[in-house]
């Protein structure tokens, strides 16, 4: 278990090697990145096994503050500053550790991240085949996964923040990977800037906590929350500031606008970063800081509300989007919203469970979309149809992902979504559960739409010569599909020592699978109805949608335009930010530059221009000056001595 630090470090080590020697290595260094993450995946199992066999007596382990789950910490001092030997509480000294926390949450995230990263990197061998900059691609990938793993392992907020920004950087680099085209460039900038707004909140929140607690350490912070050292106001404000960071990273309303545009990056990147791992970092952060969040009812309500708005809004947009990857992107936003909602409803287990289940399924869906795109060079679903005829493997695997995410029973998505429904039903007002069920219906509907429109129905003849995905791509998708099918079963009390995920990842106390019969039944019925309806509407075309289109034309228009949020932002930037910037620029140019900087320079130059004429070069001028000086001195001396 103490070897957990090795997982990110291996990938970190791969980065410079690939950059420096990638051109000369076989496969341009891609095997190096894959080996690093493969080793990381292997070590994950060692860590997992070590954690399962650990007890509070094990070295470095204890019952975690707040979560009451087993937590193991391993750390070395990173740096110290301030007065030696002083008390950290008074801010006379700070002490920051390179610390690793291994607890159930970390283990779960490690498993998801290493596994999906491994799959995606192998998949990329096929997808990125022949790209001239494949060495950079893999270097960025390795850097990303190393940062992501550092993020989930970090035991203090400062290290977490460093990793947080690093994954943001990698996201920027990979979205803009094909920077020859303008759209990826713009998308990369948009993603970077929008997430940065949230990151400022995160940083301020971390510093606020530090100023109150005197330590960046999470366990000390949570202990301070538990013991009531922090006032309610500080807890609420810092929780909301942390949530601001989480909103940016997890693309929550109103910061979700960057994620659909991020689909301009290579599809495997979308699968790894913008579906399974990095965007889940916000959810992870809220879960990690759950002792802080759960101490403030306001913060919890804000989290739940934002989550619900995001989930519902994104689902409606996903329903009308025409770009396959954007459908998946909005679906991702919607599901991230569901996770936030679940956290806000104290559904800690449900949120992480859904994070994992969604991670596998959505990675699978993205890889499937990538496979389609790789073969057809087409992303507009209106141009597609019946693709299962030419790419059957992709069709089957994509369908598994869609069904899983749509919430069809026994598949992974069903279980996790149901847990969320239970939590929302238990903790929040009735309006929340109604809207959550609506979201679940919409979620099934848009997944079904994507699946049926693309792979079923009338075959689009111009894709006659399209071939299926190569082996590296289909095998990885297959492995992910297995998880998308069976992962839900971890919720059950299986034979053996494992009593279900509720006893592994929990907050305060373990609990078994909670199934509320009417909720489970209702959500199942909704999902099946949605799939059947979509089959009839999109595959068989036996339901004519034109009538609906006419009735709800205005609503469709609003949804198709993504609620005009991009336009609002554009207006804000143009009218408010740029006007203010112009004013600042004017101040800088006119006051600072012209007056403050050029002013003294001009005065000196003009003065020099005028005064230089006293240097005539004629000897007699100087003699005259001497004589006048003599007279002046004499008069002066006479005046003084009088």
């Amino acid at each position: 278990m103490v070897w957990a630090w090795l997982i990110p470090v291996l990938s970190f080590a791969a980065v410079p090697l690939i950059i420096l020697f990638g051109k000369r290595l076989p496969g341009k260094g891609s095997p190096l990145a894959i080996l690093a993450i493969l080793a990381g995946f292997a070590i994950f199992w060692v860590v997992f096994a070590g954690f399962l066999s650990a007890s509070p007596d094990t070295d470095g382990c204890e019952i975690g503050v707040g979560t009451e789950a087993l937590t193991c910490n391993f750390q070395i001092t990173w740096f110290e500053a301030g007065i030696p030997g002083a008390d950290t509480k008074n801010h006379d000294r700070i002490e920051v550790a390179w610390g690793m926390t291994v607890d159930p949450l970390t283990v779960a995230m490690l498993g998801l991240a290493t596994f999906v990263a491994l799959m995606v990197q192998i998949y990329s061998l096929g997808y990125m085949h022949g790209d001239p900059r494949i060495d950079w691609y893999y270097a960025f990938h390795a850097l990303f996964i190393a940062s992501m793993l550092t993020l989930v392992l970090a035991d203090n907020f400062l290290l977490l923040y460093v990793a947080w920004e690093l994954v943001g950087l990698c996201s920027y680099l990979l979205i803009g990977f094909w920077h020859e085209r303008p759209e990826p460039r713009e998308a990369a900038k948009k993603a970077f800037i929008v997430t940065r707004i949230g990151d400022v909140g995160l940083l301020v929140g971390i510093l606020l906590l530090w100023s109150q607690v005197g330590s960046f350490s999470m366990s000390e912070t949570f202990a301070a929350v538990e013991s009531g050292v922090l006032s309610d106001g500080v807890i609420t404000v810092s929780a909301l500031l942390l949530f601001l960071g989480a909103m940016g990273k997890s693309a929550q309303f109103p910061f979700h606008v960057w994620l659909p545009d991020a689909m301009e990056g290579p599809t495997p990147v979308s699968a790894l970063i913008h579906a399974a791992t990095m965007v889940a970092a916000g959810v992870y952060l809220v879960a990690r800081a759950f002792p802080l969040f759960s101490a403030s009812d306001t913060a919890m309500l804000v989290v739940a509300t934002i989550g619900l708005i995001t989930a519902l809004g994104a689902a409606t947009i996903a329903l009308v989007a025409t770009d396959l990857k954007r459908i998946l992107a909005y679906s991702t936003i919607s599901h991230l919203g569901l996770m936030m909602l679940s956290l806000g409803a104290f559904g800690y287990t449900a949120a992480i469970f859904h994070l994992l289940a969604h991670g596998f399924a959505k990675a699978l869906l993205f890889l499937g979309a990538g496979s389609v795109m790789h073969s057809t060079d087409e992303l507009d679903v209106r141009e597609m149809g019946g693709l299962r005829k030419v790419m059957p493997v992709t069709a089957i695997l994509f369908s598994i992902g869609a069904l899983s995410l749509g919430g069809i029973p026994i598949l992974a998505g069903f279980w996790s979504k149901d847990e969320i429904l239970v939590a929302v039903n238990k903790e929040l007002p009735v309006i929340f559960i109604v809207l959550t069920l609506l979201t679940a219906l919409l979620s099934a509907l848009y997944m079904a739409r994507a699946m049926f429109v693309v792979f079923y129905g009338r075959f689009a003849e111009h894709f006659e010569h399209v071939h299926d995905a190569p082996k590296t791509m289909s095998i990885t998708m297959g492995l992910l599909a297995v998880f998308a099918i069976v992962f839900g079963l971890v919720a059950l009390d299986l034979p053996g020592p494992f009593k279900g995920i509720g006893y592994f990842i929990f907050y305060h106390e373990g609990h078994g699978l909670e199934l509320v019969a009417w909720l489970a039944g209702l959500s199942t019925v909704l999902a099946i109805v949605a799939f059947v309806y979509a089959y009839l509407a999109y595959a068989r075309k036996s339901i004519n949608l034109e009538g609906t289109r006419g009735t709800f034309g205005w609503a469709l228009k609003v949804a198709e335009n993504k609620y005009y949020l991009d336009e609002v932002y554009q207006w804000t930037v143009d009218r408010v930010v740029l006007s203010f910037s112009r004013f600042i620029a004017w101040v800088d140019r006119a006051l600072v530059n012209d007056v403050g900087i050029n002013g003294p320079g001009d005065v000196t130059r003009v003065l020099g221009d005028r005064l230089k004429y006293h240097v005539t070069g004629y000897v007699y001028t100087y003699a005259l000056a001497m004589a006048l000086g003599l007279v002046g001195l004499a008069i002066f001396w006479w005046l003084v001595s009088r």
Partner: protein
């Protein structure tokens, strides 16, 4: 008897005349001549003081005369060097007019 002040005022007048010559003349040769006038003004002053103030303070009456001798010596050296410089100047620039020589300009 002629009082000391008369000599001193005379020397001041001669000094002022020499100074005017230094500042106003164009030719370097004339400037050197004006400098000689100024040196003579100083010498008059020294010698008049030496004659009139014998035994006042620690100075003997010929100390002023001796300093005047040195001044005459230095004046001779100065004229010799000054003329050499003027000759060199004339050879290089074909003029001895100081208002045509302003290499020290800005």
């Amino acid at each position: 008897m002629v009082p000391l002040v008369a000599f001193q005022v005379l020397s001041a007048a001669l000094f002022a005349i020499g100074l005017y010559g230094v500042m106003a003349r164009r030719s370097a040769v004339l400037i050197v001549m004006s400098i000689e006038l100024m040196l003579n003004a100083v010498n008059i002053n020294l010698i008049a003081a030496a004659s009139h103030l014998d035994g006042m303070g620690k100075w003997a009456n010929f100390d002023g005369q001796i300093i005047a001798i040195f001044i005459i010596t230095v004046a001779a050296a100065e004229v010799g060097l000054g003329m050499a410089i003027i000759l060199r100047m004339y050879r290089n620039r074909s003029t001895v007019n100081v208002d045509e020589i302003n290499l020290m300009k800005w």
